[in-house]
Amino acid sequence: MPESVLVHRGRYHDSAFLMRLSRELSARPGVQEAVVVMGTEMNRELLRGAGFHAPALDTAGPMDLVVAVRASDGKAIEGASRELERLLQAAPTAAPGAAARPGSLVEALRAQPDADLVSVAVPGEYAGHVALAALRAGRHVFLFSNNVPLEDELRLKRLARERGLLVMGPDCGTAILGGVGLGFANRVRRGPVGLVGASGTGLQEVSSLLHQLGSGVSHVLGTGSRDLGAEVGGLMTEAGLELLAGDEGTRVIGLVAKHPAAEVAERLHRVLARLGKPVVVRYLGQPARSSADGVTYTGSLEEAACAAAALVGPATAPALATCPLEDDVRELLSLRPRVEGRLVALFGGGSLAAEAALVLRGQGLEVEEPDRPLGAGAPLPGRAHLVVDTGEDFYTRGKPHPMVDQTVRCGLVRALGAEPGVGLLLLDLVLGDGAHPDPAAELGAAVRSARAAREARGAPPLLVLASVTGTELDPQDANRQRGLLTAAGVHCQASAWRAAVVASALLTGPGGK
């Protein structure tokens, strides 16, 4: 199949813009694959991995734009090149007369000296440099970028600790500071629960559930996924906990994190016990453990949210309680006593995927979490139930996160039309600022298309469960999203954990296994 690799010297564009170009070019007729990236070492390796070996590739540098296209014929390649030029010409530039955007962080801080916070979402290899400059200028940093070297993270966090500053990240998905959301943040009521966490979607789930429970959050401080690893040792988790301990508006503190190292967890417990406020902890992927010293270790994100809400006062609006789990299961079981076939869970939120895998395994179900991307249309691997985090690095390298762009996930959903062995599909929807503007519409359409394909083949029907992480205040409106899913025949559960519990009940049949 003909392919072409073109290198345009010295034309830097940000990755979000280039991802869009890649997607638009890939969608052209005859084009099998189109990748538009800057020629960094990582991206060149990525292209070689994708089978592009043109010598031009070796000459590209980080400031050079690389366009790799594989297509059915030369004409399709030519068309893609022309379209690329058109899209590049249409690249957003400052409106005439509008003030030019500052060309560097220093200039931006000069223009906006009041900025208390610098938010960084640039490629990982550059993020450390920018974040360091921000810290040295005395600013807190929200560091959304991933692929930041661990040594950079350590340097940043040590300096931040020294200077009384906060580094949220790297790989920090969400934060809410004094009512202002950053990254993917849900619009939740302000309230008495302060959250710290190394898990973006975990924090989003807990804060959204608190909102549904009639409570709310004072602040949400993301720390980045590696903060509780042995190397970083919880530098920013501790900083965040101290801040919340001293914050008048925070009455209960919640901590959400993935797999802390054992010695870190031990030390952290002593820190938590000394905060002087009740603490609720959710360590993802781990069952509940015994609570002590005013620290409650919960077994799920939903339990963490409920425990925190209960601690702040009389049970508030019992949104979750009015819909007990047993009813959910009974209702679904009344539709069908037991789901035949395997489960495929396609998540956008990594923490939610981990929680679901834990629930399913807890029910004795065999679960596989594939360590390579599933190809739409390729046969599914193995025979076990599949829990897939489509936000994993190997899905998102050079592509946007599924919370922003569901192309990959919807493709996988549609492919289930040709997988009669799959009986149950589990989905999550994570809403909020920065996320996809209307994810339920797209996912719903994909579900419909899969079902139609199965019907045409006479395959057994596909049962679909989903949870929606978000609130009615979010730009996507959680209620509207649930409505759209329901209309597409998707059963919405009140939380991701519930959806997983219901799924496992359906897989194991009445009364459990």
Binding site: Y126, H129, G138
Partner: protein
């Protein structure tokens, strides 16, 4: 960039600066927090080696030492008080000057590699000094080693374009009158005017005749006037000129006029004939660039005050000889970092075009090194066509240069930028980090000897200088 005590991150942020993926700041925008977006470019062009070096320099202890050194450099720069104190003969006043020594602009260069205009100036110098009877003999002698060539910068001197200083030429004498200045002196020739002139490589009879008039009539008169009047505070003149539409490099009309006012009464009192006095005043009056040869040694003097400060990452010299562009760092004075002189992007006099132009030449980039010239383009709307046409472009140039400099010089305020000080002391770290070269205003010399000026425009140094200087600085910062 003020480093104030950080506010608690739990307070609602007053404003946010955002870099990268736009959607990440959507929440802040929705909450009506002002978001300033940066037009992000990878630091140091994304070069992994440079990124590692920048990280090394950014280690807090090291970064603070460098910042402190740069603050000290800026302080010494601003404390310097350049005064015009007299006029003398190069052979008598310029340190290290000798009868067989010709000084030239830019980094060191041998005759074989000299460009047309520099060679032309050397030929004129040979004729002026009586070392040769005609240009052919002059060329033979120059090639044969009859005179030695050294940079003006090695002798506390600077010269525009070819920058030639020969022993019998009169030079301005500047002295640092600040307590810390130690009586430091800098030197520069007197400006010949426009058209066919030695500094652009012309050496015809009219060129030599003018130089002889300058030595015989102009210089003694100015020396006498200065003696009568006393020293002239050049920083004060420069500060006023910047508020009158000069930038001190390509526009010197205001500075020249101010100098004229300072000197005219004293000149009248020197007892010369009215005709002799008038000829001197007329010479100044006819040459809008007369003040350039004072703004340059003034800049040189202030920059010399920054030399020898360990860890200072600022530049103390930028200079070109028509073949090479050389820069020096304040922390390692005397060491040149050299790359090829670049073509000038500019406007040409009628009848000339780009193919006629010599690459960049002259010591006058010392003005940009000191924060005036191209860095003060916002002060000189009258010559904005050089930067692309509109006064907005001029403002933008000054703003952009503000990001690669150590600080601002409040003594040189730019009205159009709200009286912000001139962006001052180019920081080699910031040039590398932002991939942004200094912008230099300059005249354009014809590539052939003997022709003269053909236009004016903008030029940047070659990257080579900055890459070498940065490598050396990283090494220096490790050891210092």
């Amino acid at each position: 960039m003020g480093t104030t005590t950080p506010r608690s991150p739990l307070e609602t942020p007053r404003a946010v600066v955002h870099l990268g993926l736009r959607e990440v700041a959507d929440g802040a925008r929705a909450a009506r927090v002002p978001v300033t977006e940066v037009d992000f470019q990878p630091p140091a062009g994304g070069d992994p080696r440079r990124l590692r070096q920048l990280a090394e320099l950014g280690e807090p202890a090291r970064a603070e030492a460098i910042e402190a050194a740069n603050r000290l450099a800026l302080e010494r720069f601003m404390q310097s008080q350049p005064h015009l104190v007299g006029v003398g003969l190069a052979r008598e006043v310029v340190p290290g000057m000798a009868d067989d020594l010709f000084l030239h602009a830019g980094p060191p260069i041998a005759w074989e590699r000299m460009s047309g205009p520099l060679r032309g100036a050397v030929l004129g110098g040979m004729l002026l000094e009586g070392k040769a009877r005609d240009p052919e003999e002059a060329a033979r002698l120059a090639a044969g080693g009859a005179v030695r060539f050294e940079p003006c910068h090695h002798h506390q001197a600077v010269g525009p374009m070819a920058g030639l200083i020969t022993p019998s030429m009169p030079v301005w004498i500047l002295e640092d009158r600040s307590p810390a200045g130690g009586g430091r002196r800098t030197f520069c020739t007197l400006n010949e005017g426009l058209g066919k002139v030695l500094r652009y490589g012309a050496y015809g009879p009219e060129v030599l005749e003018r130089l002889r008039f300058m030595a015989a009539v102009l210089a003694p008169a100015l020396a006498a006037a200065l003696q009568a009047r006393g020293p002239v505070d050049l920083k004060m003149l420069m500060a006023q000129a910047l508020q009158m539409g000069d930038e001190g490099h390509n526009r010197n009309r205001a500075g020249t006029s101010l100098l004229f006012r300072e000197l005219a009464p004293a000149l009248c009192r020197t007892g010369r004939s009215p005709e002799a006095t008038a000829s001197v005043l007329e010479f100044i009056h006819r040459n809008d660039h007369f003040f350039l040869n004072l703004s340059m040694p003034m800049a040189k003097m202030m920059l010399m005050a920054t030399e020898g400060i360990p860890r200072a990452s600022s530049l103390s010299v930028m200079a070109r000889n028509g073949t090479d562009f050389g820069i020096q760092l304040a922390c390692m004075p005397g060491r040149w970092f050299v790359g090829p002189a670049m073509p000038v992007r500019g406007l040409y006099f009628p009848g000339f075009k780009e193919a006629d132009a010599n690459p960049d030449i002259g010591d006058s980039a010392i003005t940009e090194t000191s924060g005036i010239g191209g860095f003060c383009m916002a002060a000189a709307p009258a010559i904005v066509q050089f930067v692309g046409g509109s006064p907005e472009d001029a403002l933008e140039t000054s703003r952009r240069m503000g990001a690669i400099t150590v600080g601002r010089n409040p003594a040189f305020a730019i009205p159009a930028l709200g009286f912000a000080g001139a962006p001052t002391l180019i920081d080699v770290q910031k040039v590398i980090e932002l991939s942004r070269l200094p912008t230099i205003n300059t005249g354009i010399a014809h590539r052939e000897p003997g022709v003269g000026q053909v236009g004016a425009g903008l030029v940047s140094p070659p990257w080579e200088c900055f890459h070498q200087a940065f490598e050396a600085f990283v090494e220096h910062a490790r050891g210092a």
